[in-house]
Symmetry: C2
Subunit: 255 residues, 2 copies
DNA sequence: CGTTTGATTGACACGAGTCAACACCAGTGG
DNA sequence: CCACTGGTGTTGACTCGTGTCAATCAAACG
């Protein structure tokens, strides 16, 4: 089986005890598949339990009165749809799958158990929530102050790092099951301009994007181009080697 | 004296007991003044305690390598600079005053006391944090999918509501101690274009902005113009004042 | 008073949006 | 087996919103 992506993510923050791990595993045991482009939660809903993505891509999004859409976050394996539904009375945005997904529905009680009886998990969940917020801030900064190509490059770097931490990316590549239209709704551009931007990144040799498969020939170069500084992901030191041109430890990819 | 803005805000979520209120009051007792345009926390810092704004305007911001700046949030009376510094090892952004501020430094222990021995406060703080995140999402949506004038109008509506809940705005006006340059860094535009946008809003009679004082002659009209739907602020029903009946009209419209 | 910072205005350039046409599949059904 | 379809990617021509540069004003300040 695939190692639990949530576990991988949380342990990136701090090591968990065996008992902690068991609880996390148990919470994500019962999962269902959801096909692509399906709403998991809609604005106005008050979901009864917490959804956890185990495989596939999903996104938070808002629809605007004029029909426009803005994607607010990508949810990848190990990410929660909404940890805190208990507090707010209703969702102020929607969540939908982008690709086919494996989703676990974690009952409220199990979340409470995790947070009340496993302080380390509680802290790690706190951390995950804060990182989500930090990502939001980084996107906002990108939207406001970066041009199209930088912003796309930055996004690709972020997804590389995030997917690597849960074992869904190699050293320099991953599957990005997102159409150009969806990318446009993510970075706040038109689909046409996203297309031109991707062409430009390709022409500069910064990315190789065929279908849904993204390869980054020179990760450091793309990071420099996109002004990507991973500090906001709060991952601490890379687990083994990561940075240099010679980092060759490749994550095993089971998906 | 002035009722504690934090208390007002938290009680907008749920009523607190007298003991709860006393603790909140105590936490915000020792405050200091900070002059305008002063960093409270810098990126990379690990602040020892939590800062609470009691008066004035502050902002979160990020500086980009090219010198650009993006303001990520406005902090108004009742807002925390960073409730969760305990978890993350360092700040990924900075916080600065915009106007002269009154700031309380709340020691970590007092936060722990509030959250561990006063569950209602804990829930209310949770709520405040989630609302901050929701505001961030709304800004992202605005940045990505609204044009300049809508976005500015939306921001003005948001600040009206937020300031009203802490008693720093009248029915239709408030002090906005923010220069056009800072506004530009907020909405992701150039200062020149912000100026033109403000002219346009003025010309349409949507706002009266002289110096730092903002008056909104017809609040509902501005809300409609900016497509402002306050649901993301999760304030529940309006507390009783005259704002009620029209707010729902806006919500209907955006459905 | 100069100095300085912020607001305002105009001329011009450029990035990004819009519209439209076409190519390229993958799926569907006749 | 092959038209037909709808969604996605690609391109070009044109428009328009916003940025840039620069000059001028206005107000705050020592």
């Amino acid at each position: 089986m695939i190692p639990n992506p949530l576990l991988r993510k949380l342990e990136r923050f701090e090591p968990l005890s065996e008992a902690d791990k068991a609880v996390v595993e148990r919470a994500s045991r019962h999962a269902r598949t959801v096909e692509a482009r399906t709403d998991l939660i809609r604005e106005g809903n008050k979901p009864a339990d917490v959804r956890l993505i185990l495989d596939g891509f999903a996104c938070r999004y808002k629809l605007l009165p004029d029909g426009g859409r803005q994607i607010l976050a990508y949810l990848v394996p190990g990410d929660f749809c909404d940890l805190h539904v208990f507090i707010l009375s209703e969702m102020d945005h929607s969540i939908a799958t982008l690709s086919p997904c494996l989703v676990a529905d974690i009952p409220r009680e199990m979340i409470l158990e995790m947070t009340e009886q496993h302080p380390k998990i509680a802290r790690a969940l706190w951390w995950a929530t804060l990182v989500d917020e930090a990502v939001l801030r980084e996107w906002l900064a990108g939207m406001g102050r970066r041009d199209a190509s930088q912003q796309v490059a930055h996004l690709f770097c972020e997804m590389l790092v995030r997917l690597q931490t849960v074992g869904f990316a190699t050293e320099n590549s991953y599957e990005l099951p997102v159409s150009q239209i969806e990318l446009a709704d993510t970075v706040g551009l038109s689909n046409v301009h996203v297309n031109r931007t991707l062409q430009e990144l390709r022409a500069q040799g910064l990315i190789v994007l065929k279908g849904k498969s993204l390869v980054i020939p020179d990760v450091d170069r793309l990071k420099r181009f996109g002004e990507f500084n991973p500090n906001y992901l709060h991952l601490g030191p890379a687990p083994r080697s990561a940075r240099g041109q010679n980092a060759e430890e490749v994550e095993r990819q089971t998906a």
